[in-house]
């Protein structure tokens, strides 16, 4: 079990779908290549999960992988629901939007959820908050075409005022004023993390909010217990726990943000529960243009104590 928690290794989902970085077209993935990666880490749990994936002629069956991804993302939405992630996102984004508006920005604001998957955050915001009617364009972007198709199907089924696009969230076509992500940022390590954060330094972008697991010594154990109970697919159980083990510390995130995106004042939001030493499961890397900094604390109101130092 503990070899499956080695943070040096990638997650299974990082490897079983590959895209051409230029065209974003799906590339074939050899099952043996994926197995070899986890064999080098002696991660038997991952090997067991990958062995079950269908691979005619040694190439992972793209349709079956898409089905698995959708199944896993439905399960992940359940965790978001249990952790009331929608309200958590809204409490931060509402304050950030109010700050931007208070500084005189009256045009349409586009919120872009990076790596949105089946778009739970954006669909929740569209369904449960007045943001769309207040001139906020709610958009989700993901490299995975199957997940984007599912996100659009779900939002159409409920006639939600939001949209989902296949592609690169930081491309000129999809860029936004506020970037958002959940459980994405730990997938970027080292230089890739700096590159990811550097992408925010575009003139139209005012703020970013990246939610991710907060690492502490009990996090993988808690994550293991919770995934064992709540998740049904081997892949989700494996990657969910590994995510908690791979999560970046607040220091790593803040240092990276301040280095890669110096035009933004950045810090951590919501690290502790009720100002006690008890950590929240998720913390948020928050960054805003320095011009917006003075009014931000005020817009958080009674939640201002959750906001760490932004600089």
């Amino acid at each position: 079990m503990f070899r499956a928690w080695n943070p040096a290794q990638p997650e299974i989902t990082d490897l079983i779908v590959r895209h051409d970085p230029r065209t974003l077209e799906r590339l074939p993935v050899r099952k043996q290549d994926v197995l070899d990666v986890f064999a080098s880490f002696q991660n038997r749990q991952a090997l067991g999960a990958i062995e079950t994936l269908p691979a005619p002629d040694g190439i992972l069956d793209a349709r079956e992988i898409d089905r698995l991804f959708v199944t896993v993302h439905w399960e992940m939405q359940r965790l978001s629901e249990e952790f009331y992630h929608g309200p958590r996102v809204y409490e931060v984004i509402r304050a950030v939007i109010a700050t931007i508006r208070a500084r005189g920005f009256s045009g349409p604001l586009r919120v872009v959820d990076v790596g949105c998957g089946i778009g739970y955050n954006i669909r929740w915001l569209a369904a449960r908050t007045p943001l769309a009617s207040q001139g906020v364009e709610l958009t989700g972007v993901d490299l995975n075409r199957a997940l984007i198709k599912e996100a659009n199907r779900l939002s159409t089924a409920e006639t939600l005022p939001c949209r989902f696009l296949h592609g690169d969230a930081f491309s000129a076509d999809h860029s936004g004023q506020i970037y958002l992500s959940t459980g994405v940022i730990h997938h970027f390590r080292g230089e890739a993390l700096l590159d990811f954060l550097r992408h925010h330094q575009r003139p139209e972008t005012h703020a970013y909010l990246h939610f991710d697991f907060q690492p502490w010594f009990l996090a993988p154990y808690g994550s293991w217990f919770f995934h064992f109970l709540r998740m049904r697919t081997r892949l989700a159980r494996h990657d969910g726990v590994l995510s908690a083990a791979r999560a970046h510390t607040a220091d790593t995130l803040v240092q990276a943000a301040r280095t890669a995106a110096p035009e933004f004042a950045s810090g951590i939001y919501g690290a502790r529960i009720w100002n006690t030493p008890a950590p929240r499961v998720f913390h948020t890397l928050i960054g805003v243009r320095r011009a917006f900094l003075p009014g931000l604390q005020q817009q958080f109101g009674r939640l201002a104590s959750r906001l760490g130092e932004l600089r």
Binding site: W74, A146, R153, L154, E158
Partner: protein, 176 residues
């Protein structure tokens, strides 16, 4: 009266099993009708299980040469089981009730510290409750009936989960 209380607890358990197996299998935001159907499915399954248990109990009673003694023994076993099941049910319902409070942290905490662990120990509670109930029974019929009902209740969630899994897999196959 004690058997009726056990029956009501079985219905509650079925209701919650129905809800639990449906979670993570529908990605809409508005899911009230989906969950209502799932809860109803669980409730009806528990009713079916209870009906089977009742029919077996009536069958055993009709064949028994000491019906009055059997009834007393069953009532006594049921009373002992309630000592285990009622506090567990109260703790589960109490945790669910806490979710009415308007605090995301508190609501999430009920999942992490209460509902999750309670789900994990459900089979253990069932086994302990039934064994505690039948341990002091004087009649073999009571013990066999207790174990029969235990096997039915333990298999309830398994079959509900399998059925929900088939429906989900079929739906995803139609989508992709």
């Amino acid at each position: 009266m004690k058997l009726l209380a056990l029956y009501l607890l079985a219905l509650l358990d079925g209701l919650l099993c129905g809800g639990r197996v449906s979670m993570g299998r529908c990605a809409l935001i508005h899911k009230r009708s989906y969950y209502t159907r799932a809860l109803l499915r669980g409730l009806l399954s528990a009713q079916a299980v209870s009906t089977i248990a009742l029919l077996v109990l009536l069958g055993v009673a009709s064949l028994s040469s000491h019906r009055a003694e059997l009834r007393t023994d069953l009532e006594a076993a049921a009373a002992r089981m309630l000592w285990i099941f009622v506090p567990y049910a109260a703790a589960v319902v109490g945790s669910l009730a806490l979710r009415i409070l308007p605090s995301t942290d508190l609501r999430s905490a009920t999942s992490v510290f209460a509902l999750g662990p309670f789900t994990a120990i459900r089979p253990v509670i069932m086994i302990v409750g039934v064994f505690y109930g039948i341990a002091a029974s004087r009649l073999m019929e009571t013990r066999i009936l207790g174990l029969f009902v235990l096997s039915l209740m333990l298999s309830l969630e398994y079959f509900l989960n399998r059925s929900a899994g088939f429906r989900q897999a079929r739906e995803i196959r139609q989508l992709i």
